[in-house]
Symmetry: C2
Subunit: 209 residues, 2 copies
């Protein structure tokens, strides 16, 4: 408090998290490569050496930013893994949780989804993303095998379609809009798990039979 106060006397005080937020916004707006430490320093109203006090390099800022998104997603899976119950319910939980992470950490997830693997930091983030995808795929498989999900599906394709849908939310979602994260999560579940179509009576008989 007093440290912040004294920093603010001169110029706006940024802690590590504050620098990270401004940097991620700049990376998303101009691209990571096009955003130099000089550009960041200008935006923050800090000297480059003040930034280096918090981060050893631009690469380290990117690493921290990607970790923010990835830890959020992995956290959802760890929670869900720990929970007991049917795989289908855990999948429901993971999809809802992923929507919440996306909404809560929108700029970080946006950055993660643009990573193409040009640097070691990016490749390592892509590897973590693939590991996450594999765990969700395993959960889809488990839910199918326990009889909760239809069996005529390829879990690999399903996982891609589900996260294609969830990830696309970053393209249009704006915080403070009329859709909150809970409502958005309900919509995703409505589309993905329960289906939009009202079953016909034929289909119901088929299912009952």
């Amino acid at each position: 408090m007093s440290e912040n106060g004294s920093l603010r006397r001169g110029r706006p005080g940024y802690d590590q998290q504050g620098i990270l937020e401004v940097a991620v916004a700049a990376f998303n707006q101009f691209g990571y490569d096009a955003t130099s430490m000089g550009v960041l320093a200008d935006r923050l109203g800090l000297s480059k050496s003040a930034i280096y006090h918090h981060f050893a390099s631009k690469d380290e800022i990117l690493e921290r930013a990607l970790d923010e998104a990835l830890s959020g997603l992995e956290g959802v899976l760890d929670e869900a893994d720990a929970a007991r119950g049917r795989a289908a319910d855990r999948l429901d939980h993971v999809l809802r949780g992923a929507v919440h992470v996306l909404v809560d950490k929108l700029p970080y997830v946006t950055l993660l989804l643009r990573v193409r693997g040009n640097t070691e930091v990016e490749r390592s983030a892509l590897e973590r993303r693939r590991a996450f995808d594999r765990r969700v795929m395993a959960l889809v498989t488990e839910a199918r095998d326990e009889g909760s999900l239809r069996s005529d599906i390829d879990p690999r394709i399903v996982e891609r379609l589900l996260f294609g849908m969830i990830n696309s939310i970053v393209e249009w979602y704006r915080p403070g809009g009329k859709e909150d994260a809970d409502r958005l999560a309900d919509d995703v579940i409505a589309v993905a798990l329960d289906g939009l179509r009202m079953p016909t009576s034929n289909r119901i008989e088929e299912l009952l039979g």
Copy 2:
């Protein structure tokens, strides 16, 4: 045939469509801005003036490329609009058709999805895309109002989630893979309209009631 033959004696002959294909591949690989007419000429093994024989400008190449994707998508909707029947069946048809356009015109749709509205040509393409989205949204609304789709959904959000899922296919689909377009369209319908989850007997009773 003989014209092609005589062109091929010297260097590979490109008609307008051939130039378009090479240009779109380059735009997708390097970005539109970073791909100069000189770069294109090098890739094609043609002089710049040979390209200008077919296209007045790089902008015109982009316009033709985006039109290729947009006409494909609009064509699906025109077909479906013409067809009689329930709105839900027409929506099924439109979603399947969109998956086919995406697979058949993968590089063109990929380019379309990256358009951000930096030029007049890009803005006009975005406007056509929005008009397409509005027509699909109207179809979702109609299907809901006829009682075929669940009523606790916002057609605007549903349309975005559905096309978020469909568009994400460009990120991983590779032609000649084991998933053909028909199978992929079935998967999209399975996820989006019918739902992955096997209805519980409670849910079935609720629906029958």
